[in-house]
Symmetry: D2
Subunit: 101 residues, 4 copies
C-alpha cells in the first residue's frame, strides 16, 4: 500500500482562489474508488502505485479541462514495503501513540 | 494568516519507521501554541509567517537532537493576502462547498 | 512539453548517504531517453506527461531493487500549454533575461 | 552546511508566466551573499540554517511586493551533519562519481 499526497495548482487563471479546481481534482479521486482524505494543503490517497500514478495523471489534467493555461502539481509518495499495515490511518495513529506516552 | 505543511524526515537512522521523530516534531508545534492538524503526510500549521518560520527551524532540529545524522524537511507555505478568512478550516470547507453542489 | 523534478529518497537503509540510490535513478532516466538535468536537490526531466509518469514509477522502484525497505519520492510537475517553447532551458533563460535587465 | 531548494509561485496574477517574480526572488538571494544555483524548477542555496530561513522569508515576500495576492512557496531542506563536505557541488559530484563507474 502506497500513501501519496497530491496538490494541484492552476496558474494564470486570474483568480487567487483555486477551490473549484481542487474540487474537480477530488471528484477525479472519488471516481477512481481509491480511499482519500482532503487536507488543508492537498489530497492524500492510498492504493497500489500504478493506480496512484494513473490518478495523478487524471488529477493533473483536470484544471486544463476547465481552461487553466498552466498547472503545477506536487506529489509526495510514501511507499513502505517492510510492513503490511502501511496506510493513511496507521501513519497518523502511529504518531498519536507516541504522543500519548 | 499563513497555512503551511511541514514534513520532517530523518535519514541514516537505520529504521524505516519515523513516527517517533514525527511525534517529537509535533511536540515542538504544540509548545509553540500554533493551531495545527496532523495528516498522514505531514503537519499543517497556521499563524503569521515569522512564527511559522521559527517553528519550522525548531521542528527541523528535533531529529538531530534524537541522534539522526541527516534530516530532510519539506515545507509548503500558502499565504493569501486578498482575504481575511484564509485558514486550515476555511480551505477545506471551500472545497467541500464546491463538492456539495 | 512538461518539465518535472523528481527526488527519490530511500529510508531505513542505515546510511545517511543516498548518492548510490540517486545514481541508479539517473540511470533509469538515461535509459528512458528523456532529456534531463541533475541538480543538487533532484533530477529535472522534460517530455510528455505519460512518459514522465512512467519514468517516475521506474525511478521510484529503483531503491527497492537495491534493498531499501521504504522510499519517499517527491515530484513537482510544471505543465504549460499556452506556449510552445516550455522547456528546462527556456525556463532558466527566461529568468536570466529578467536578471540581465 | 545546509542545502535547500526554494520555489516561489505567485497565484492570481492573471499571467501564466512567473519568470519576473522568480527573477526578483533570485535578486533577494544575490543580495544575501549566499551561494546559489538557478535550476529549471527552483533556486538552490547553501549556507547555515538560520540564514537560509531568513532568506526564504524574504524570497516569499517578493511577489507580494510586486502585487501578487497569493504566494505558494515550496522549500526542501537537506541538512547533513555527519560530514563536513555537504554542499551543492559535492552532492552532484557524488552522484556523478557513481555514474562514471
Amino acid at each position: 500500500m502506497v500513501v501519496a499526497e497530491i496538490s494541484v495548482t492552476p496558474l494564470g487563471t486570474g483568480e487567487a482562489g483555486v477551490s473549484k479546481y481542487v474540487a474537480r481534482c477530488v471528484q477525479v479521486v472519488q471516481a477512481s474508488g481509491l480511499d482519500y482524505q482532503l487536507t488543508p494543503m492537498g489530497t492524500v490517497i492510498e492504493g497500489d502505485l500504478s493506480r496512484i500514478l494513473e490518478v495523478i495523471g487524471k488529477m493533473h489534467e483536470a484544471p486544463f479541462s476547465m481552461g487553466a493555461p498552466r498547472v503545477s502539481t506536487l506529489v509526495k509518495i510514501d511507499d513502505r514495503r517492510d510492513r503490511e499495515d502501511h496506510s493513511m490511518l496507521e501513519k497518523v495513529r502511529s504518531v498519536e501513540r507516541k504522543l500519548d506516552k
